[in-house]
Each structure stands twice: as structure tokens, then as C-alpha cells.
């Protein structure tokens, strides 16, 4: 029966091919949208894993999360080093990592931080950052830089290479800090998160860039020597709290702090304490809550995309029904002949349903092929632009369920021409009037 249907379809291979193409496009779209969404969510959730609280100048939680974790956009005017030390000394805080932002390296965000970042950052379910080559920022001097895997691969960076950063977070910037180069000390292993597209420098180095701006007369050949002198005046912030030993360099202002707690259940209490701190207008953001809020915002667009994808699927199904139905009249003779050689009306209905099954199944398979091909092409672009990967995921249960749903929809749709053909064969018998 299947062979018979195949032969019959082959006879109409052009129209059949178009029908299969329509179905396959819808399959690729539906699964593609899902994978993209899952990829984005995983990637975002992975990037923020391990951080209990993000403290930043008062602002919108989603904006703070996007800026501090994904290097997209910026936060408000900086928070004081005092606030950082206050946080660090809170009893419920296990660790606190200072973050400075606002510069870019050839379009990739530059983060000013210290070695504690690499000690505490976790991604993809608790994995620490590991080095592919070189060393992290400690003991490498103020001009040391660590680059993410993506950045290293894109520009062919290896430890020892000199890089120059630019002010602002835009893709194109003419205001290069080319008088304050950094030397790459380490390259990170790929994580599949935003870290891959970041450049990390020391707090000292980050400040040095902006010190250069303020003092153009400084000696460009010795950038590392500059900031310690220039920022001498800030050291007293640490002195009266007695923590000067912890941080070799204490910047005037920072953009955010990643906080890890000893006991996570204290997170709400700390959040309240941060929000109520009188000397500095701060926000404490729970990454999970901000993410949920973010998905709430993007959810509408996602649903619109999904709706579109399913609409394309519907169009594909309608196309198939049209194709099968349109040929019925010209095939009346064919059915009469089959009846004359003993085919029951049920058998002829089965022929039509089998044709629909073949078209739909071919559409599903071609759709998966298209999707895989598209993933190969689009993934590197997505990964470079947004640090997310839709991934050549192994088949999820949900995808399988989607495919089944489409297959059954195809069979179900074929009942429309099938019922017609059943009535027709019974009415026509063998005597089709010509």
C-alpha cells in the first residue's frame, strides 16, 4: 500500500514536493523557535547561576541583570567603594565581587573586577571558570586581561597579546584608549554563557583607562604605574574599616557587586538592608526573579513567534489537503480501475491517508534536516552576538511530542479528502461517466 502511494505521489512529485517543503518549513520554524527560546533561557540562567544577589545603583532589576551579567546596556551612576566594603562585611555575606563596566573591546564588553570573580563565578549548574591558557588576573600587574573563549577565538588572542579598549559599550567607537593597552594573561575555556564574550581587566587597569583621560600628560609607556599614584586618596576608605589588605586597588566607584551568601535563606533580609541603606541609592536584585521578569517581558514576543510558526504549519496542512483534494477529480478514473481489480472503498481511502502520511512524514524529516542545517549556520552568529546557543540539542520529549502532533494533524487533515473519496468511489462504482 505504502509503495503504491509512493508511486502515485512520485507521479505528482512537483506539487508533492512543494507540499512537503511547506510542511518542513513549519516544522523547522516551530522547533527552531522552541530551541532558540530554550537556548536563550538556559544560557541566561547558566550565566547567572551561583550569584545569590546582584547589588547595583538603584534601577530596574531586569536592566541591572542584563548589564551586569550579560554586558548588555549599563547601570546607573556608580556605587561607592564604601558600600562595597559595607556589603563585604555583612555577616550573612560569604563573598562579594566588585564589577566595573562601560568599556568595550572591539564591541565586546570589558569588565573590571578582581581575581575573586574567577573564584566565585559559576555557570551551567555550578561549574567554575577554567583557563584554557595562561593565568588569571592575580599577580599579573594592573595591565593584565583575561578574555572569554569567544573573544579569543574571534581575534586569535593568546596570552601575551596586547589589546586596546574603547570607551562606551557600542559596537563602533572611535574613542580608543590606545594609550593604555592591556596584555592578555589568560584565555578562558568556553562556557556557552555571556562570559565567553567578555574581556576582564583588573579594577586598577579599568580605572587607569579613565585616569588617562583625565590626565593626558601621563606617561603612556607605563600605564601600570599610573593608577596607584592617581588613586592614592581613596585608600583611606578601606583604612578605617580595616580591610585594605583584601583589595590591592580600591576604585572610587564601581558599577555592581555580585554577592554570594553563607545561607541563601537570608537573601531577602539582605535585600531589604541594601534597599534601605541611606548613604547610597542601591538595588539588590535576585537573578532568578529578574530573569522571570525578563521572560515575562519577552513572553509576548515568544508567543507571537510560536503562533506564527503554528500558522505556517496550518498553512502547510491546508496546502496538503488542497493538493490531495484537487487531484481527486482527475483521479476518479484511477479509483474506478482500482475498484475493478478488487480494491475496496476502504482500501482507496487508505491510499489517500497513506499519501498524506508520507507527505507529512517527509515534511517532518526534511524539517529536521533544515533545522539542523540552519542551526549550523546561525549558531555561530547567535553565539558571537548574544553569547547564546540554540544548540544541537538531543531530541527532547517535547520536540518528539510536537512532531507526533504534526503527524497526527496531517493524518487527521487527510480525512477531509478521504471522506470525499469514499463517497465518490461508492457513487461512481466502475462507471465513471466521461
Amino acid at each position: 500500500m505504502l509503495v503504491f502511494s509512493l508511486r502515485s505521489l512520485w507521479n505528482r512529485r512537483f506539487v508533492a514536493g512543494l507540499t512537503v517543503l511547506a510542511i518542513s518549513l513549519s516544522v523547522a520554524l516551530i522547533l527552531g523557535v522552541e530551541r532558540l527560546r530554550d537556548g536563550a533561557r538556559d544560557s541566561f540562567a547558566n550565566s547567572a547561576s551561583g550569584i545569590d544577589l546582584i547589588v547595583a545603583p538603584r534601577g530596574n532589576p531586569v536592566q541591572i541583570l542584563m548589564a551586569t551579567v550579560f554586558g548588555v546596556g549599563g547601570t546607573g551612576t556608580g556605587m561607592t567603594w564604601d558600600s562595597f566594603e559595607w556589603l563585604e562585611d555583612r555577616p550573612e555575606v560569604a563573598w562579594a565581587v566588585p564589577i566595573q563596566m562601560g568599556d568595550n573591546h572591539r564591541g565586546y564588553p570589558v569588565i573590571g573586577t578582581d581575581a575573586s570573580y574567577f573564584e566565585h563565578f559559576r555557570h551551567s549548574g555550578g561549574q567554575p571558570l577554567t583557563l584554557a591558557a595562561g593565568t588569571i588576573l592575580t599577580g599579573d600587574g594592573a595591565d593584565a586581561a583575561v578574555v572569554g573563549a569567544e573573544v579569543a577565538a574571534r581575534f586569535d588572542y593568546a596570552p601575551g597579546a596586547l589589546i586596546v579598549n574603547a570607551h562606551g559599550s557600542g559596537e563602533v567607537s572611535f574613542e580608543l584608549h590606545d594609550d593604555a593597552p592591556f596584555t592578555i594573561s589568560g584565555v578562558l575555556e568556553p562556557t556557552g554563557t555571556a562570559v565567553d564574550r567578555m574581556v576582564f581587566v583588573t579594577l586598577e587597569g579599568f580605572d587607569a583607562l579613565h585616569a588617562e583621560e583625565d590626565a593626558p600628560a601621563a606617561d603612556p609607556l607605563d600605564p601600570a604605574a599610573m593608577p596607584t599614584d592617581d588613586h592614592d586618596g581613596h585608600d583611606d576608605h578601606g583604612e578605617h574599616e580595616g580591610t585594605e589588605a583584601k583589595h590591592s586597588h580600591e576604585p572610587d566607584r564601581i558599577n555592581a557587586v555580585y554577592v554570594g551568601l553563607i545561607d541563601r535563606t537570608n537573601v531577602l533580609g539582605l535585600q531589604r538592608a541594601v534597599n534601605e541603606r541611606p548613604s547610597d541609592a542601591l538595588s539588590a536584585v535576585l537573578p532568578a526573579v529578574a530573569l522571570a521578569e525578563l521572560w515575562g517581558i519577552t513572553g509576548t514576543a515568544e508567543r507571537a513567534m510560536q503562533l506564527m510558526a503554528w500558522a505556517v504549519a496550518l498553512a502547510g496542512m491546508i496546502g496538503m489537503v488542497v493538493m490531495l483534494s484537487a487531484t481527486l477529480d482527475t483521479r476518479r478514473r484511477e479509483f474506478a480501475i482500482l475498484r475493478s481489480v478488487g480494491a475496496t472503498p476502504n482500501r482507496i481511502v487508505a491510499l489517500i491517508v497513506a499519501e498524506a502520511a508520507i507527505l507529512t512524514a517527509a515534511g517532518l524529516i526534511l524539517g529536521l534536516v533544515l533545522l539542523t542545517a540552519a542551526t549550523f549556520v546561525i549558531d555561530p552568529i547567535l553565539s558571537a552576538r548574544f553569547g547564546l546557543r540554540s544548540g544541537l540539542n538531543v531530541f527532547g520529549m517535547r520536540e518528539l511530542a510536537t512532531l507526533f502532533l504534526i503527524f497526527w494533524a496531517g493524518l487527521f487533515a487527510s480525512l477531509i479528502p478521504a471522506v470525499r473519496v469514499y463517497r465518490m468511489t461508492l457513487a461512481d462504482g466502475l462507471s465513471v461517466r466521461l
Binding site: S8, W10, N11, I337, R339, V341, G342, T344, G429, L430
Partner: protein, 228 residues
Amino acid sequence: MRALHVENLTFNWPGSENATLRIPNLSLAQGERNFLFGPSGCGKSTLLSAIAGVVDVSPGAILVANNDIGALNGGARDRFRVDHIGMIFQVFNLIPWLSALENVLLPCRFSKRRLARAGEDPAGAARHLLGELGLSDTSLVSKPASELSVGQQQRVAAARALIGKPDLILADEPTSALDEAAKAAFVDLLARECAEAGSALLFVSHDRSLEHHFDRSVDFLALNGGAA
């Protein structure tokens, strides 16, 4: 055993007032070749549909190889048809996207009896039949049926009706699309192959010039009391 026995058959098309068929008696012995003639629209095709079990008739009215067609239900009639009857139509007898050979083998695909009676090698039997009917060219036989001439298509249809030696062959004006010379040749070949297969032949036509090829000839108007 008679290949066909019709007794007190009446048939109305749904919605029609008069009986299209009212046939008191019509019989074909095994292997007998019968010519049935009558003008267009008098109900010849309807009679063949009734014999083939495509339309509903009352039990006892039609026996094919001693089987009561009217007593069989739908699916059983379809199976019975292919087991015992070969059919040839006026035109468009073939599935266009199957080759000539595959068209001939169709009954064997749907009927175990026809398959069994076609012998060890059904494809060989089909080729033999096609050869007997003047289609021995291998390339011709494997071509899609749609690429054959009308005369060739009718001969392929004849081979399909004959394969697996059915008890009865129903031919509904199979020559009306052929020219004069081809007509006579076709009927000759068909008659010879029916004799070979031992199948009875009920050949319907409005063209009495073919009458002399048959054992017996029947005037449909005289036979059918129902025709207006």
C-alpha cells in the same frame, strides 16, 4: 457449472422511476463467448456493473461461477469481483503512473486466487500474455501506461483482465476507441486468449460488425424487458 447465470433481474438506478434492467434470463456456459449488442443508453453498462457487483442487486438474481452476487456484502463483493471477473472498459483502462506490466499484475496484487492461477511466475505470465497480444517489446512493457497508444492500452487492459484465468471477462465496448482494422484484430486476439484461459466472455458493443467473432449473439433490447 455456468460462468454466469442471470434470472429475473430487475434494477433501478436510485431516483429513476423505471427499471433500467428487467432481465428474465441470461446464461453463459464455461468458456462461452457471448456478444451483447444494443444502442447507447439502453443499460448495457448497468448490466455489467450489476454482474460485477458494483451496484446492489437482490439475492438470487445473479450467479457468477455459482456464487450469488446479491448475497455478498460490500467488501466480499470487491474480493469476489477480482477473484472471478476480469474487466475491460471503453477507454482509460490503466493506472497512468504504473508501467504496462504493473497494470497487468494489478489483479494478482489484490487477489490470492488470481495470483495462484497466474502460475509460479506471475510477471512471466503477464509478459507472455502481453506477447500473445502483440506487446512483446520489453521497453514498451516497462513504460508508464500513459505513454502507450490507445490500441496498446486496450491490449494491456485485455491482458490484465485475462491474467490469473478468471471465470468471466466483462468487456464494455473496448473497441469503440479503435479504428476498423484494429477492432477486428483486437476482438480476434481477445477471443483467442479467452479460449486459452478458459474464461467466458461477455462482450458488449453497439457495433454489430464484430458479431461473427463470437459463439452467440444477443440483442439487448430483446433481452431487456425493462428498457423503455
